[in-house]
Subunit: 343 residues, 3 copies
């Protein structure tokens, strides 16, 4: 048993340390097909090489969230195997497209540590970077998790709490090289709405729902080599239910958001995210979005929308928190991201 | 909510109008693998590049039904989002193979309209064409659906009922360029039966059965970007059951038909089709075929069989309709198609 | 019905006969993605082109077990359609990697026959060879099955029982051309353990478990074009349960064994295998391994470990047989194989 990975405990992290995560992964045509089989994904740049080429890209890149899940999945054995909770995300930036055939690897720098007052656990902040086979960074994001301590009595580290932006600014967003919406075909993309048609404060009900199956969320989660046992082993939780990987809910909600946000083509920034309540097989996932902000990018014709994407298993579009400020019980996900939209 | 697609109602169609459907789609190696994972598909031309090349093709094309589902899926948001029933198919022709890496798009011409006598709905006939990234038509077919009216009192259009062939003739069928069965390897293909071994009137029991799972039919249906909510959302129907996309039953039955029709390699014509009864997860799908007709093509060595493919969830092979002329309750699908077979 | 395959009965086999199996199959990027979606596979050579290239290979090959299942699947219609039991494996050798895009076919030579004393069935031994599109053998193995007789009274053949090795020797193992572990990156591979760190007698608990779903095992089994009806048709067995293809359990257990055997990169030999008890959906599969032997290969830096891989649905690691010598009821699989490991 000494040969298996017990995961790290809170004591095993040191601020400034960089952890190289194992098992690089080549993703391509097969993962793209599976992404479309697992989610009702229809954003045209990820669906069609011809459409992507008409937008100045050399081919249809891997879905931004497929890249995210792949990079994230590699971190699980080192960061969250003994995690009690996935607390938040910040400063997520997609730095360049991931092309079919690219090989991704991940590393994480520990940027913060704070022991909890109960002495049993602590919060670990890491900045994770995904790189391709050329050594180019494709994605980076900060995540913080609550991790068990190995021993309650062990000494607490000096607390370091990183200074994180509440949201990226437009200048932080990277527009993929060559992206050009000047000949953008709105009919082919599926909707006529341009960047100028969206206003902060606007709420969009994405209407459709998908009832979640065990086989699907497990296939998705394995595809990203995420090994957290609660997703796969029905005996891991006292209630005998498998907890659905939060990323499955993110991808499902994003795909559903096509209906109303078909032209919010590419995700380029992740400002924040909360997995508000657990999701289980049998839940019917719906989604709504709120336009939080809008900005121009440094590329003519390409605007950015800051969107709140909320996944629910019930409740009305727009309903997020109760009078106590807590998420409503039907809210599964509250994600704050930036996407590129033709102006 | 104004930004989401409410679908078209009967009043929104005009004869002669052409509707360009959204979201082009590149399909390839991943979709081929998924097709083989979702259906027990074994027709050798679609299973093996080497076999396809020995038949004069440059590679194994995408399964004819994968091409059909992809083209069909794009039409759903414009044609059948508010449909009450999918009534029929006619004059379906596969015009050239779809190769891995091709990008497909669809458009539909409205060729018929007839309001129902109840004033609440009407029938819409469309001729849908799928084209590849070179602008070449790969597939065309006529479909008619019953669509809700937006308002019961709105004026009825002049009825136009298209004149459709009850079945394609041999001269209508397109043999893929280069296809050559002169060196056809029957052992590798799996059965010794040639075109000459089949006779009209013959019934073939395909023996095997597959019990349908929710995860599988949803993955299939999403793969073709078919968005009809009854397939995904357990809360969409009063009975809480998800209706299985008719195309899933078509592909399942066609794949099962390998056992007895292993050499009916390529589908080139769709004469008619009826989804006789709904299919739900838990049903065990079986299939039988009846040879309806046979014809030579204009290519030596390549014959065509006209086949009735019936999918059932019970009942004896050959049993199709009751004394009242209606489909028996266990019949799921009655499909009439032409396939190419070595002579 | 005369056109469908009734399968072979015991009387239909003759020692020395070679059976060419139908339906060649091209496997590639799609099958690789599905393999990673269906199993928690993480061995780096199969996960990453870049890692494989750093180990001297031209790309990431298809998983050894994907090759095995593909070759095996083709044999089912000719060997095991009327089989009562799959009795064993021996002398399995992976002869060269299967690359994405390769087309595989299978043939089997009958090497043994022995009628059972009850006169109703007999044992058939076959040596199956998988070849690629260049006619090169990629895999060979011996399998024996118990097959029904067509008629109880028919004459028994002269018994021929092949002389099979209880285990391959190191000299029998083929190291893939070019494989070179001299620059092997243990951090990227996921674990630090070298060949020298494993000792015969050592038992490794692979810790993690996966609860099996119907949709997943059927997708896997279809992917390899294995047509045995008990895996797909809930009405095929009196208890209404679908029996899970033994190969699904093999792949699941092998993937789970990453945790402790991350560097047992490539399977090159199959010494023996028993499907000890049936597996059904809902079972939670776990795995443990025992190091049976170790050997050097003729390539410097590449060692071989002989491993017993046991899949269970319960019970303690190391528990295999009861006092009566029979497999414990929770044991699903007992597989004896050789894998290549960096020295």
């Amino acid at each position: 048993m000494a040969k298996t990975n017990p995961g790290r405990f809170f004591e095993d992290y040191a601020v400034g340390e960089t952890i190289g995560h194992a098992v690089p992964r080549t993703i391509g045509a097969g993962e793209r097909a599976l992404y479309h089989a697992l989610y009702p994904a229809r954003h045209a740049i990820y669906s069609s090489d011809a459409f992507a080429q008409a937008c100045g890209l050399r081919a249809s890149p891997m879905d931004d969230l497929a890249a995210f899940h792949t990079v994230f999945g590699k971190t699980v054995p080192d960061i969250s195997l003994n995690a009690l909770a996935n607390l938040g995300y910040a400063e997520g930036r997609w730095l360049r497209p991931v092309w079919p055939g690219d090989t991704l690897r991940s590393s994480s720098e520990v940027i913060g540590l704070k022991q909890n007052s109960n002495g049993k656990s602590g919060v670990v902040w890491v900045r994770t970077t995904g790189t391709n086979q050329h050594g180019e960074a494709v994605l980076e994001y900060v995540r913080w998790v609550m991790v068990r301590k190995r021993e309650q009595g062990s000494a607490a580290p000096e607390p370091v709490i990183p200074d994180l932006k509440p949201a990226l600014e437009a200048g932080d967003l990277m527009v993929p090289e060559g992206l050009d919406f000047s000949g953008y075909d709105f009919e082919l993309a599926g909707e006529p709405h341009r960047w100028g048609d969206y206003e902060p404060g606007e709420t969009i009900d994405h209407v459709d729902g998908v009832t979640i199956e065990e086989a699907e969320h497990m296939m998705a989660t394995r595809l990203w080599q995420n090994t957290a046992k609660v997703h796969f082993d029905a005996s891991a939780r006292p209630d005998g239910r498998r907890l659905i990987y939060g990323g499955h809910v993110i991808s499902m909600a994003r795909a559903l958001s096509f209906n109303g946000l078909a032209n919010a083509q590419m995700i380029v920034g992740l400002n924040a995210g909360a997995h508000a309540n657990p999701c289980f097989a049998g839940d019917t996932v719906r989604a709504w979005s709120e336009v939080l902000d809008k900005a121009e990018t440094d590329v003519p014709g390409i605007g950015a929308l800051r969107l709140r994407l909320v996944a629910t298993k019930g409740g009305a579009p727009g309903a997020l928190r109760g009078g106590d400020g807590k998420y409503l019980a039907d809210v599964l996900l509250d994600l704050d991201y930036w996407a590129l939209v033709p102006i």
